[in-house]
Amino acid sequence: MSRTPRQIGEEVWKTRVEKVNAELVTLTYGSVVAQLCKDFGNDYIQVNEQLDKMGYNIGIRLIEDFLARSNTSRCRTFKDAAEIVSKVGFKIFLNITPTVGNWSQDNKQFSLIFDENPLADFVELPDDGKAINELWYSNILCGVLRGALEMVQTQVEAQFVSDVLRGHETTEMRVTLIRILEDEMPVGDD
């Protein structure tokens, strides 16, 4: 009987993860976002994009860390992958397990609903009347997910559709499966 994703996540978090005070990460990330807002003269679309890029680069490296620690096996379906992302992935890095839900009929789209988000603790968006409609503060997470999944042959699109920082009821990220990438053998590797 194999263990559930939740058990794996709990166990890895408890035994195989070195911890750091969340405030340190929150503060560092906050500085990044604040600086980007300044750099781009409050062009929040650009800020979102930069955060996403940053996340993507993290994601393609983070997957190694994830696989090494969690020792999970290949996911059979996109549904399995969603469970692993939430219960193992988010658990062992951010110690949260966003709720997976709102599956589309074709099972190619789901939502991650965040009850808590350590990145956004103590955060208020700039009150220029613009940020609240344009800035996705935690957009780095979309990039991380996209980058990490791409490294395991799963191409997705991820974007936030609501954020409590904007005054919404929930923080929700929508993840869409684009395609499963084919395993490609490197040239000359038999």
Binding site: R6, Q7, E10, W13, K14, T15, R16, V17, E18, K19, V20, N21, A22, E23, L24, V25, L27, T28, Y29, G30, S31, V32, A34, Q35, L36, D39, F40, Q46, Q50, K53, M54, N57, I58, R61, L62, D65, K87, I92, F93, L94, N95, I96, T97, T99, D115, E116, P118, D121
Partner: protein, 272 residues
């Protein structure tokens, strides 16, 4: 096992199952009186005479080895055993710090393009020399960007983590706080060596600086050192920001001559 925790449970870390004994505190927890007997050394040099640089040994306590990751992995030992603190995977911080450099490079590029493309279209006739200056300027801009991020983080850290401390009596106390507590907090170990000439210059050396620990390049040697340099800009900013919020204006530069040794040269500015 706590596997039945509902996923909406709060972000509090699970209660550690092993007792946690705080390590020896390098500083006495109350007051400044039991600091190391360094006050004598700290007499300002006689004017007109150059004081020799002195190494200030950290005799305050045995160096606290960070616990191996395999153990009940509690956060960094130290004085901030806040029961309400929430914890994340240390890798998150590492990833973030690593990614600051490429991010800043991208931002500088995007912003640079915006300004140059509007001002002139003479890029093609730039001489080689101009190109080199451009490269230096770009590096300077990236430095400023990364350092600025660090500055802000340094300020925030001090604000948050020195709030329960008594006021620092002198600059040396500030330096020791930074070398021991602040460094431990961000980079998981203390500064190995603090030197001063007693005239406002401090040199902080970390013999195995966390951000450089796992760095190598194919060419090795000088190549590695050169390419590692940008990763010292963030801690420079952290130092400057932390010092500023503790009332010490300073300039900070860093260098590494051999990975993973990093030394930070702090020049405090006299304020009258």
């Amino acid at each position: 096992m706590a596997s039945s925790i509902p996923m909406t449970s709060s972000g509090l870390p699970s209660t550690p199952t092993t007792p946690y004994t705080p390590p020896n505190r390098p500083f006495g927890s109350n007051g400044t009186t039991n600091h190391q007997p360094l006050s004598e050394q700290n007499q300002p040099g006689v004017p007109g005479k150059v004081a020799p640089a002195t190494t200030l040994p950290f005799q305050g306590g045995p160096s606290v080895p960070s616990p191996p990751a395999s153990q009940q992995s509690l956060p960094a030992p130290g004085m901030y055993a806040d029961p309400h603190a929430i914890y994340l995977n240390l890798s998150c911080l590492d990833f973030l710090l690593i990614e600051l450099i490429p991010m800043s490079e991208r931002v500088v590029e995007v912003i640079g393009e915006r300004t140059t493309s509007s001002s002139n279209g003479m890029q093609s006739i730039l001489s080689e020399k101009d190109a080199r200056i451009g490269e230096e300027e770009r590096r300077g801009a990236v430095f400023k960007h990364v350092e600025g991020l660090g500055y802000r983080v340094g300020q925030g850290l001090v604000e948050r983590f020195s709030q329960d401390r008594p006021r620092f009596a002198e600059v040396l106390d500030v330096m020791k706080f930074i070398c021991k507590d602040l460094w431990q907090l961000i980079f998981r170990k203390q500064i190995d060596n603090l030197k001063t000439n007693h005239r406002g210059v401090y040199v902080l050396t970390d013999n195995s600086f966390r951000l450089l620990m796992r760095m190598s390049t194919e060419a090795g040697g000088l190549d590695t050192v050169t390419r590692a340099q940008p990763y010292l800009w963030f801690p420079c900013g952290v130092l400057r920001g932390a010092l500023a919020n503790l009332g010490v204006q300073a300039t900070v530069v860093a260098e590494t001559t051999a990975i993973p040794v990093a030394s930070f040269h702090v020049q405090t500015l006299r304020q009258d």
